[in-house]
């Protein structure tokens, strides 16, 4: 395939970026999108042009590092996948592909397509944990009976890889799906109930402090989430928050 790429180039977080047009040739349908980006970067290096900066790590859909807004959608046009799992067979010879960084004030561009998603880390730090003594006397988690339904829902919430596609897809750049997944994975388990009140209040406060927008229930986040995190988690977050607010 021969493809026209319209790629966002930005020197650093303070620079004014712009789209640059590149043409890549000999792209095979079995290549991943990131491999196509590797081909582009090899070509740019040979031409003496600075390669395009983009985030990537495991390339197995697990780490949550790869991002990119591809033709107007985070992780591209396919569903339940990350950018590294997107195959070039999804595109046709001669296509123009627009590639941008995830856009949100809370995710400032570092360079080109790489954005700083440490706002998610700070939300996690605000309460996305349980306080247990891990000195060697930790109780076996399986010794506490947990309803199968709750265990499954907690596990599903815990599959969130924190990639930020929810924020990127949301017209409001809201982080409610991420925060709700991180609150839910503990709220559903007995180990998480002890600190439930502080957790939800602190994580929501941090989410607001980071400058994310408000949730308007468009559902775009759920559709674009590579792990299929459900909107049920946002409803649970709202319940947890209301209950915690009433407790004070």
């Amino acid at each position: 395939m021969k493809l026209n790429l319209k790629v966002w180039r930005q020197e650093n977080k303070d620079a004014k970026g712009k789209f640059e047009n590149y043409i890549v040739d000999d792209i095979h349908g079995d290549m991943s999108f990131l491999e196509m980006m590797d081909v582009l970067n090899n070509q740019l290096v040979q031409e003496g042009i600075e390669p395009v900066e983009f985030d990537h790590d495991c390339r197995e859909g697990i780490c949550g590092m790869c991002s990119m807004q591809i033709n107007g959608e985070p992780h591209g046009p396919d569903r339940r996948i990350t950018t590294c799992q997107l195959h070039m067979r999804k595109f046709k010879d001669g296509d123009t592909i627009t590639i941008e960084p995830f856009r949100a004030n809370a995710f400032p561009v570092v360079k080109d397509l790489a954005v700083d998603r440490s706002a998610f880390d700070r939300i996690q730090h605000a309460g996305g944990y349980i306080s247990v003594n891990t000195s060697g006397n930790t109780q076996d988690a399986n010794s506490i009976p947990i309803e199968k339904e709750n265990a499954d829902m907690a596990f599903n919430a815990a599959t969130c890889i924190g990639c930020g596609a929810c924020v990127a897809a949301c017209k409001n750049a809201s982080a409610m799906l991420f925060t709700s997944a991180k609150v839910s994975q503990y709220a559903l388990l007995p180990q998480g109930k002890v600190e439930a009140t502080e957790r939800v209040l602190n994580m929501v406060a941090q989410m607001d402090k980071e400058g994310f927008g408000n949730c308007t229930n468009t559902g775009a986040c759920e559709i674009e989430c590579p792990k299929g995190i459900s909107l049920e988690n946002i409803a649970r977050l709202n319940r947890e928050y209301l209950a915690a607010s009433l407790k004070g």
């Binding site: 807004q69 033709n71 627009t98 949100a104 004030n105 017209k171 927008g213 408000n214 308007t216 409803a235």
Partner: protein, 224 residues
């Protein structure tokens, strides 16, 4: 509104005010519909609503507060949401993952707000003038009959532009409710096995009530 500080608290306040307005719509539609089936009943209810102390001194101010709160909070939330992404996408495929209605509540809401201006001018301002400025609480016309039905019909009979504007506004009200009514349940934390039934109910409500309002306006236009 300054006391509602967090994003979720603001959204819950928005949802609660929206649900309150939905209840008001149901009540308003029920009363209006009596104008189609029984003018006398419409006159009696209108007189009761227009002269009852609890309705006028307590419920009406609460309703006006609810309307203003819903619109002002809606604009505040929209402003915050827009400022959360100051650099816009070069390409944003919103239709791939969400409905136009859900992404454009500001547009449908702004049209309904503009309609409310017309609607208040048509009915509420006149009522306030007659009852509280002229001091006529009788509800009677010079002929000695209740005036409410005749006045309502006169607004639509032979008034195609007004009827058209009302019908257009009801279409936008439908668009607003199609997302907003169900969305308020999600914001209140309701997403469970009953949610599919709630969505069906809210969708039916969002279609039937605005169509009903439009029917009433068209009925009086055609019938008179």
């Amino acid at each position: 509104m300054g006391g509602i500080k967090t994003s979720i608290a603001r959204k819950v306040a928005m949802a609660l005010s929206g649900l309150f307005l939905v209840l008001f719509l149901l009540q308003h539609f029920t009363i209006n519909f009596t104008s189609v089936v029984s003018p006398d009943t419409f006159n009696e209810i209108s007189h009761f609503m227009g002269t009852n102390f609890v309705v006028q001194a307590i419920l009406q101010p609460i309703l006006i507060f609810g309307v203003i709160f819903h619109f002002v909070m809606g604009f505040i939330l929209e402003a915050q949401n827009r400022s959360a992404r100051s650099v816009k996408y070069g390409m944003f495929s919103g239709n791939a993952n969400s409905s136009w209605l859900s992404r454009n509540m500001l547009i449908s809401g702004a049209v309904v707000l503009a309609f409310l201006g017309l609607h208040f001018y048509d009915f509420w301002v006149h009522e306030m003038q007659v009852k509280y400025l002229e001091g006529d609480m009788s509800g009677l016309s010079p002929s000695g009959e209740f005036r409410y039905y005749e006045e309502t019909v006169a607004k639509f009979a032979g008034q195609p532009i007004r009827v058209g504007l009302y019908v257009l506004a009801f279409v936008f009200l439908m668009m607003h409710l199609l997302h907003g009514f169900a969305s308020s349940f999600q914001t209140m934390g309701v997403n469970n096995k009953y949610s599919p039934a709630i969505k069906k109910f809210t969708k039916a409500f969002a279609i039937v009530i605005p169509l009903g309002f439009a029917f009433i306006a068209i009925f009086h236009f055609i019938n008179n």
